[in-house]
Every structure is written in structure tokens, then in C-alpha cells.
């Protein structure tokens, strides 16, 4: 039973910030298809106009255009949803008891393409298209898990799982306890949540704050393709019910991940950027806002330590504690609402355990306690922006 976890890490995990605009190609094309020639004088024979020049919008990131150069680097590059799919596929190959159920996961391939191609490979029963009945198909997954299957429930949007709250809380979380240990419920409940691009209030919910007090479940949030695949595999292999929070805006992140198989620990936090002055704790999409703020902070002379807590329940107080002992200042940046969010619990936990090490009160930046508005500018102001993070660190480090 003692298989070691391999947290094999690529030496420099480069990641791209999500495009601020919708996914446009790196160069602009004119409306008619142009066959590009290798000649430098690119004259379009039809239009007589100059054909397009390749515009490189991001001077910094590795475009990996040259196949030879790409092949020499270890690992392979993929998008976050592909990483999730890879993890899922590997686990389904490994264990025939793993099955997926959710709305449009089968023939449609998943509304975020996480399960694309799996139904053709594994069949309709193993990748099950359910009717729109969250309460009962989550209950069905729990019942199947009681007999030994390992179902993965996909909520098309995390907000829809509120309909299944009773099944998740009572049956998923508590059955192991109320049966005196007779039944284990090795389900994974996953889906995208968080504030997206003007999706409206009901489709922009952050359920981690509602689920966090359910005893018996574990909650993890992935933020990069690397940890998405690792956490997906760990969640499937875990005997406990795990809720895996993905984020709507992070599915198209690209990263190079190792070719070898790896599984991450569900209870560990990730050190994104070691530092000395302040500990910034964050997870999911806010990690990118924090990293953006970190660039500005570094330019201003601060040295923030950024930790992606990843494990929302239980908190990795070991990693967090060591960081607090080093920096003595904590800033929490989260996407949950102010009231009763993950940040609130984390603040309480750190205060209880590490009070003596703190030089300043913990600052927690969360989303506003409002339903997410549709208008773009208003929506931007409901979540924490990098400028606010910079201001908070400056305040904290005074």
C-alpha cells in the first residue's frame, strides 16, 4: 500500500496568462484565405495587397513554433482541459471501475471538452450521458460508489450542484461515518465554477464556501495543467469523496507537463514563488492575478512569497505555517465571497495556530458579497484585481 507519490516537477513550469480577449490566433488574417509563400515579398496575387505580416503579441512566452526545439524539451505541451482529460483517461485505463457521469459528457464530449473522445473509447455506460437531474445522478453516483465503483460526477457548472447538495452533504460526506466505516464513497465531483466572462449571477458561483463545512469530503482546486492532471488522478485514486474545483476561465491555459505518470498529493499546497516579505495565499484563478501583482511588487522592491493552497479542505497548515514563520505577514487573495468563504476559514485557522508569528493582522481580499452582475465593468469589480493586491501588500508591509 505504500506507493510513493511522485511530485516530479518540470524545472521551470512556464504558464501563460489567460488571454484578456477571446482566443485569437497570434497573427491576424485577412478575410480571404491566403496561401502563404516562403518568399519574403508576399504579394497577394488576387488582391494585389500586401499579405499579412506575422504579429507577435507576446514577446515573452515560448511559442514553441519550431518542432525540433520542442522535441528536445522534456514532456509535452497541452491545455488545461486536455490535461484533465489525460489524467482521466489514464485512470480509466488503469482501473475498470472508474466511470464518468454527467450532462453531455458522452456524445457531446463535455461542455468544456474534458471528456471528449472518451465515450467512443469506453462506451456509453462508462461515460454516461445523464438527463438534467443533478440531485438524482449525484445520488446515483454515491450509490454506485457504495458497491465499489469509482464514479466521477461532472457538474456542467458547479452552481448546478447546489441541487445535489443533500446528496453531496449527507450521502457523499457522511455515509462513511454513519455506517461505522462499512462503506467508502470514492467519488470525485468536479466541474467549473468561479466568475467567468459575464456569465451572469447564477453561473458564476463559488461553491467551495458552501461545501467547506461538510465533514467527510476533501476539496481541491486546480490552477495549472500540471496540477490539474495530478490532482485529477489523486482524486480518482483517493478512497474519500473529493470535490475538484476547476475554473471556467482557466481551461485554455497551456503548459508543458511531464510525459511520465505522476500523481500529486491532495493535501499539499504549492509554492509558486518563494519570498521573504509577505505570504500571499491564493488558489485557482486568483493565482494569476496574484502573479501579475507580484511582477509589479517585485519592481517596487517587495519580495512576496506566493503559495497556491490547492487543498481547500483540509488546509495544508504545514506549508502555510512554515511560510508564516518566515515572513510574519499574510495576505489571502480568494475569489469566494467575503462572508463565510475559504479566506474566512483560513484566516481563523492561521490566527489560531500561528498567532505568535504574525507581525500584522491577516488581510483577506475576497470578492464582494453581491450576486455577480452581468455588466463587464461591474463584474470586474466584484473580483479582486491585481492593483488591489499591490495596494494591500504595500499596506501590509509598511
Amino acid at each position: 500500500m505504500a506507493a510513493m507519490l511522485q511530485s516530479v516537477r518540470v524545472a521551470s513550469a512556464s504558464f501563460h496568462l489567460p488571454d484578456q480577449c477571446s482566443k485569437l490566433p497570434a497573427f491576424s488574417v485577412c478575410s480571404l484565405p491566403v496561401i502563404r509563400s516562403e518568399r519574403s515579398s508576399s504579394l497577394d496575387p488576387i488582391h494585389g495587397t500586401r499579405s499579412t505580416r506575422k504579429v507577435i503579441t507576446k514577446a515573452v512566452a515560448a511559442q514553441a513554433e519550431n518542432p525540433a526545439a520542442a522535441a528536445s524539451k522534456p514532456g509535452h505541451e497541452l491545455l488545461l482541459f486536455e490535461a484533465l482529460r489525460e489524467g482521466l483517461e489514464e485512470e480509466m485505463d488503469r482501473d475498470p471501475r472508474v466511470c464518468v457521469m454527467g450532462e453531455d459528457v458522452g456524445h457531446y464530449g463535455g461542455s468544456y471538452k474534458v471528456t471528449k473522445g472518451l465515450a467512443e473509447k469506453y462506451g456509453d455506460l462508462r461515460v454516461l450521458d445523464t438527463p438534467i437531474a443533478e440531485n438524482s445522478f449525484t445520488g446515483m453516483a454515491v450509490g454506485a460508489a457504495m458497491t465499489g465503483l469509482r464514479p466521477i460526477v461532472e457538474g456542467m457548472n458547479m452552481g448546478f450542484l447546489l441541487l445535489a447538495f443533500n446528496q453531496i452533504s449527507d450521502n457523499c460526506g457522511m455515509l462513511h461515518y454513519t455506517s461505522g466505516g462499512q462503506f467508502t464513497i470514492p467519488t470525485v465531483i468536479r466541474g467549473p465554477g468561479g466568475v467567468g466572462r459575464q456569465l451572469g449571477a447564477e453561473h458564476s458561483q463559488r461553491l467551495e464556501s458552501y461545501f467547506q463545512s461538510i465533514p467527510g469530503i476533501q476539496m481541491v482546486a486546480c490552477s495549472t495543467p500540471y496540477n490539474a492532471k495530478g490532482l485529477m488522478k489523486a482524486a480518482i485514486r483517493s478512497e474519500n469523496p473529493v470535490v475538484l474545483f476547476e475554473h471556467v476561465l482557466l481551461y485554455n491555459l497551456k503548459e508543458r507537463i511531464p510525459d511520465e505518470e505522476y500523481v500529486l498529493s491532495l493535501e499539499e499546497a504549492e509554492m509558486v514563488r518563494p519570498g521573504e516579505h509577505v505570504t500571499i495565499l491564493t488558489y485557482s484563478r486568483m493565482r494569476y492575478h496574484v502573479m501579475q501583482a507580484a511582477k509589479t511588487l517585485v519592481n517596487k522592491g517587495y519580495d512576496p512569497e506566493v503559495i497556491d493552497i490547492r487543498s481547500l479542505k483540509p488546509f495544508d497548515l504545514y506549508t502555510i505555517g512554515n511560510s508564516v514563520k518566515k515572513t510574519h505577514r499574510v495576505l489571502i487573495v480568494e475569489e469566494c465571497m467575503r462572508t463565510g468563504g475559504i479566506g474566512a476559514s483560513l484566516t481563523a485557522a492561521i490566527n489560531e495556530n500561528f498567532h505568535d508569528y504574525l507581525d500584522a493582522p491577516i488581510v483577506c481580499l475576497s470578492s464582494q458579497d453581491v450576486p455577480t452582475p452581468y455588466a463587464g465593468t461591474l463584474e470586474e469589480w466584484t473580483v479582486v484585481q491585481p492593483a488591489q493586491i499591490v495596494a494591500a501588500v504595500e499596506q501590509l508591509c509598511r
Binding site: 438524482s136 445520488g139 461515518y177 485514486r237
Partner: protein
Amino acid sequence: MAQIIHRSTNLLKPVSVAVSATRHLTTASTTPITVETSLPFTGHNIEPPSRSVETTPQELLSFFRDMVLMRRMEIAADSLYKAKLIRGFCHLYDGQEAVAVGMEAAITKKDCIITAYRDHCIFLGRGGTLMDAFAELMGRKDGCSKGKGGSMHFYKKESGFYGGHGIVGAQVPLGIGLAFAQKYCKDENVTFSMYGDGAANQGQLFEALNMAALWDLPAILVCENNHYGMGTAEWRAAKSPSYYKRGDYVPGLKVDGMDAFAVKQACKFAKEHALKNGPIILEMDTYRYHGHSMSDPGSTYRTRDEISGVRQERDPIERIRKLILSHDLATEKELKDTEKEMRKEVDDVIAKAKESPLPDSSELFTNVYVKGFGVEAFGADRKELRAVLP
């Protein structure tokens, strides 16, 4: 005729070796007897099975014995509750024993049963012992759920009993999940998802039924219609009280739930149907003598005459008694002796359970997570940084 003869030995195991005076162990105990059910079956979208049920003297006597044990257990639980040894909620099943006993006679331990909170007798039928039951009711650590579940959370994984659920209707999707797993693993067994007339109005039930019918899952939905959803009579809660018809495209059967042989016949029929054609609904017309739970006197919404009327005319134990006497399988005195024996057995187990220890305080934190994956309490000084995954 493949009778499941060993079925009742689980109940008989803890019985003292006092040789029963009944004649069932002697001659002709497996001679088939044909019994007519009290009422014909009514079918919805299906041809109902015949009223004639094959049985044996041994089965008749074991039915009697099991039902008397169940009745005795529930009455004893009543007095224990009043003596404050059982706390919280206690939902008693007396009056409905025929459903538990008849169902067991038609199936194997590989088939799954899942039910709501009125689960004491079904637990017993599935092979749970009296000690497991009473210890759990009194919150002792020898209980089937280590004292951490209580009256509404009896489970027995080895015999396919999946509980024991407190939230009305939530067990039906779970039952469909059990059937899904049976279909996934292709093991030719069925799942009986039981619920009451109150739960029959839950949306998740219809959601689950839709899915079961869509994928032809071997699920049998059993509505134990005791005509009262806690304090609300069925005609005040449901526009259509024909619960067996509510499946629409799913066939249904209405069964007299106070007749153990009708239940047995219906369950056997349903099992064959489910394995071939997918889900079927069984409505068991039954009755509970006690109120909804121990905090409900049971007389504010129904008359005492109604209760005593049912007890006189439809009591399941009396029906079996009459059958035994009319077929001359035992004398009145022998049956009375059996009842006394069962009473003594229950009293003995209660005395033992009263002495059994309470759970240790450390048990508060066990079984929250499967051991090894964190949280018994993850403190700041957690020494193990890495968890071990299989």
C-alpha cells in the same frame, strides 16, 4: 422449486439451543403447500402474477418466527425509548413485517436492499443480529454502525443492506446507483429501493425512475404505502394515491402488503422482470400501528378504531398463524411457546446490550475520512508531509 431454506437460519442462530417443541423439524417439512393470496394483484402496464403461491411448512413456520421476532423487537424498542435508553428518532415497523419477511423469501443476499429510516426489521431480515440492532439503538460501540449512526443508519454491507437513510426520498437515487453498479458489473442481481407514500411525492424519485427506465437498470422501486406521511394522510398529500401507476411508462403492481405470500410472489415476479426488462414499481398496501416515530402518538390524525380494525382484520402475524393452524402444522400452544421464546430472546439481548460499552471518545474522529488521508486533525506540526496513495 428453489426455496431459500437457509435464509432464516441467520435469525435463528442466536436462538438458545432449547429445542423448539414445534413439529417443523420432523416429517414433510418441505412438502409444497399452495396458498392463495388474500387479494388479487392489480397491474399497471403489466400482466399481474397469479394468486397461488407455493410454500412449505418450514417456510410458513419460519415466517411466523421471523415476524414474531420483528414485532417483539419493535415493541421492546418502544419501551426502551420510553425508558430513555434510545434517544432521538425511533421509527417503528410493527404492522409492516410482512413486507420485510416476504421480500427476503424471494431474493438472495446478493441482491441489494436500500430503504429509508424505518429500517430495523429489514436489517434483521437481511441477517443483522438483535445485538447489532439494540446496541446501535442504544448508541453502544457494538452496534452495526459502531454507535455512530443510530436508529436511522443501520447498514450491513456483506448482506447487501445499504441502509438506513434519514432524508426522505434521498435513498431512491442511491438505490438506482446500486442497480447501475449491478448492471455495470453484469452480475444478474437486482436492487430493491424502498420508500414510503410520503416520499413518493419527491422529485428525485421521478428523476431516478426516468434514468432507471432509460438505461434498463435492474431496479425495483417498492412503495410501502402505510397511508400516512407522518401526520398527513395520503389523500391530503397526493393527487393520485395509486403509487404503482405513477411510473407511467414503468409497469407497476399493487400488492397487499399485510400478506407475506403476496409480497413474496410480487418480489419474485419483480426480480424476474427487472433482470429482463428494467425497472418496475411495487406498491405494498400496508399499515403501521405505531405513530410515525416515537414522538408521534399516532392518534391525532387517525382514529383508534381504524388502528384496531386493521389489527383485527389484516394483521400479518395473525394471518400466518391462521394458515399454520388450518394446515395443522403446529398447535396453538406451540405457537404461543414460540412467541414466548422470541420474547425471552429479545429480553436477553437487551439485557446484554444495556451492559455493553459506549464508544471511546477517540471514535469521534475515526471514519470521517478513510484512514491515512489526512484529517484526524491536521495540525500545524504535521510531521507527515506526504500522504500515501495506492
